[in-house]
């Protein structure tokens, strides 16, 4: 996707801080599918995804002043808000760790297994990319990014020593980056 067509990053930031509704609308049109994707993935297709997305965008609108350019692009900041909001909800629903894991393994078995011919075409490119990761690498990334598990939790759940979690996580992400940048 090409986001630079209409506004530069600086114009977007400035516009958002100046509470420009046109900019807000642009940010919604261009980034909401990605943010919604994160929310849906964290909450396991929970029906509340739309409401959560709404809250996320209201936070983006209200907290624009808290955005710090030195920490990353605007989209990265928006992603963080979406992920953190969704994970807070996941936790407040008193999802136990075991339950999170259950969902992950379900995901691996049901949706993104190595052969996912029956998935909708939207996800075809995605599943192809995932084929090149091992099941463990996929689970690591999912647990860390989409379920907000800490290193200790991952170590306990996957029964890997804590020191190994870091290295494997790094390898998984390196592998993912290789695939993404091919």
């Amino acid at each position: 996707m090409d986001f630079s067509a209409t506004y530069t990053e600086a114009e977007l930031v400035q516009g958002l801080r100046a509470r420009d509704q046109k900019i807000f609308s642009y940010l919604y049109d261009h980034y909401s599918p990605a943010l919604y994707g994160v929310i849906v993935k964290v909450l396991n297709n929970d029906s509340t995804g739309g409401d959560v997305l709404q809250d996320v965008y209201l936070k983006i609108w209200r907290y624009a002043d808290r955005y710090d350019e030195t920490k990353g692009r605007l989209f990265t900041w928006m992603l963080n808000i979406a992920r953190n909001t969704a994970i807070d909800i996941l936790r407040s629903k008193s999802h136990k760790l075991e339950q999170k894991i259950q969902n992950i393994t379900d995901d691996v078995n049901a949706g993104s297994g190595p052969l996912t011919v029956y998935q909708s075409t939207d996800y075809l490119g995605f599943s192809k990319i995932l084929e090149k990761l091992t099941k463990e690498q996929r689970t690591l990334i999912d647990l860390a990014y989409y379920k907000g598990c800490t290193q200790e939790e991952i170590s306990r759940v996957l029964d890997i020593p804590l020191g190994t979690v870091k290295t494997r996580m790094r390898n998984a992400i390196i592998q993912l980056r290789n695939i993404l940048n091919k």
Binding site: A34, V40, W61, T70, M169, I173
Partner: protein, 295 residues
């Protein structure tokens, strides 16, 4: 600090993918400010994370945008404020003040009424309270039983869903494993059988492993067979046709992997149209499609 070592330690990956506890995030952010190399590494990781997340993108329900813009339009007003999530709401000083003032006025207005009248008011108030309480009792009692039944039906629905899910995962797990093995094993040969003439445009792909002898089939483009008929797959070996089992066609089967009978040797595959249930020997004038294995 050894910058290269820091970059390759894995801490930056953990930081960008949200794996670090808050206490350690600050350390990384300090390093980003201090060392341009670290900053560049983090930025490129963030870009890749953005790409990764985009893979999961899916369009949200259409009405959300209108709802958002509506909230922004009414943002300054009191009811607009009420639409915001709790943590974003501006505290409302006006309504608080009103609540505090009201009782004071009432006390001032009721200066020194005669004792008679006070008792009349008190009695009336009690009667109203009593009636209200009786009414509320009925109301709440009926409501609570309603909740109970709704709760029960919710529990039942949940249990049913869970049972369904379990049954589904049991049946699909075996098949998935076979499919996974099939993809991983380089020994598998894919033979595309394309129709010609009357069968033009029809496609079946056969996956056969000469080592393990496993045989699968995907009827990618095959119509539903005529009533009372079925498709049957045959392996061609030494100019003979060996039964490899029957399979289904139709739109629902296009992406399903159908497991066929294991086959030890084959030079090619043929498809016939047989009577329902399949046949022990092929009806030769019903061979509709065939392909040989390229070696």
């Amino acid at each position: 600090m050894d910058v290269q070592r820091y970059i390759s330690s894995g801490i930056l990956e953990s930081y960008v993918f949200g794996l670090l506890p808050e206490s350690e995030q600050g350390d990384v952010e300090t390093a980003v400010m201090q060392y341009p190399q670290v900053k560049a590494a983090v930025q490129s990781l963030q870009l890749d994370k953005e790409k990764f997340v985009q893979l999961y993108a899916c369009p949200p329900p259409a009405e959300i945008k209108d709802r958002l813009l509506d909230i922004l339009r009414r943002e300054g007003t009191q009811e607009g404020n009420a639409l915001l999530p709790q943590e974003l709401r501006v505290p409302d000083p006006v309504s608080n003040k009103r609540i505090r003032e009201t009782p004071v006025k009432q006390l001032n207005g009721q200066k020194k009424p005669s004792t008679d009248r006070i008792w009349k008011y008190v009695a009336a108030a009690f009667i109203i309270l009593l009636l209200g309480s009786v009414f509320m009792n009925f109301f709440l009692a009926s409501r609570s039983t309603d909740y109970k039944s709704r709760y029960k039906s919710l529990i039942a629905a949940r249990e049913k869903l869970e049972a369904d899910k379990e049954a589904q995962s049991l049946t699909s797990a075996g098949a998935e494993q076979k499919e996974a093995d099939m993809l991983k094993d380089p020994a598998f040969k894919q033979i595309k059988i394309e129709g010609a003439g009357e069968q033009l445009g029809h496609v079946v792909t056969v996956c056969w492993n000469p080592i393990s002898h496993a045989l699968f089939l995907m009827a990618q483009v095959m119509p539903v067979p005529p009533a009372g008929k079925t498709y049957q797959l045959w392996a061609i070996h030494n100019k003979k046709l060996l039964d490899a089992g029957v399979f289904e066609g139709g739109a629902q089967m296009t992406q399903k992997i159908q497991e066929m009978k294991p086959m030890e040797d084959a030079e090619g595959f043929a498809i016939t149209l047989e009577n329902k249930g399949g046949s022990n020997s092929p009806t030769m004038n019903q061979v509709i499609m065939a392909a040989s294995i390229s070696r």
